[in-house]
């Protein structure tokens, strides 16, 4: 999936990926897509729920070798 920006959250656990995502999303313009790379499996549930709470759109998540690439579209 194509993204406008990438955020590296490898090695970080809750709540840091969410904190960093929220901070990074402020730099994006509406409609742009952020790619979040993480290895805490909590991201699979946490990021969709963060999107539901904040109104941003969760586009999907890919898992490969214990790493997750999640995509969030800024509202």
């Amino acid at each position: 999936m194509k993204a406008d920006a990438t955020l590296d959250c490898i090695g970080y656990y809750c709540p840091l990926p969410i904190v960093h995502t929220a901070r990074k999303m402020k730099e994006l313009r509406p409609g742009e897509v952020l790619e979040v790379v993480a290895d805490d499996m909590g991201i699979k549930e946490d990021l969709p729920n963060w999107c539901r709470q904040t109104g941003n759109e969760f586009l999907g998540i890919e898992e490969q070798g214990g790493q997750y690439r999640a995509y969030v579209k800024k509202k």
Binding site: Y13, W50, T54
Partner: protein
């Protein structure tokens, strides 16, 4: 009463490091999700927002003894389990560092940076003989139950830790 909105309040009663981490984690998560968040520090929880440096001034033998034994500050919080005179806490600190998890002071600063509101309980302050000068400048308000209830009444999520 106003309608409940996306807001979290936490009563932090404990000064146990593990519980303090949970409280900050929740408040930081809420603030990062566009919610308002307030932490009401009461009883032993006041230790979390005491200054790390300098002495605690108080009057009377009993209060001076209490404040010497109950010094507080983010750097002095004990674990609720396996503290083992600080050995367990040291080990927990190593494990936290191992997963790049912030310590209590870093979490406090992160929470404040995200706009989490800190309220200190004045009743406990009175009982323990603590003045405003015992606390860090990040405390927003010194108040009591009516302030907490007003904050909690407009929040959807209210927790006691």
């Amino acid at each position: 009463m106003t309608q409940p909105r996306a807001k979290l309040t936490v009563i932090l009663f404990s000064d146990s490091l593990d519980k303090v981490l949970a409280a900050f984690n929740l408040a930081i998560g809420a603030a990062s999700s566009g919610m308002d968040a307030t932490i009401f520090f009461t009883f032993w929880g006041l230790n979390v927002i005491k200054k790390n440096e300098g002495g605690i001034k108080s009057k009377g033998v009993m209060r001076r003894m209490l404040n010497a034994m109950n010094r507080g500050g983010t750097k002095r919080l004990p674990l609720s389990k396996f503290h083992m005179l600080g050995i367990g806490k040291w080990m927990m600190g190593r494990l936290m560092k191992d997963i790049k998890f912030p310590d209590a002071q870093e979490l406090l600063e992160m929470a404040k940076g995200l706009g989490v509101k800190f309220v200190a309980c004045t009743t406990t302050m009175g009982m323990m003989g603590l003045g405003k000068d015992a606390f860090i400048p990040e405390v927003d308000t010194f108040a009591g139950v009516a302030t907490y209830l007003s904050e909690a009444g407009e929040a959807r999520i209210n927790l006691f830790i």
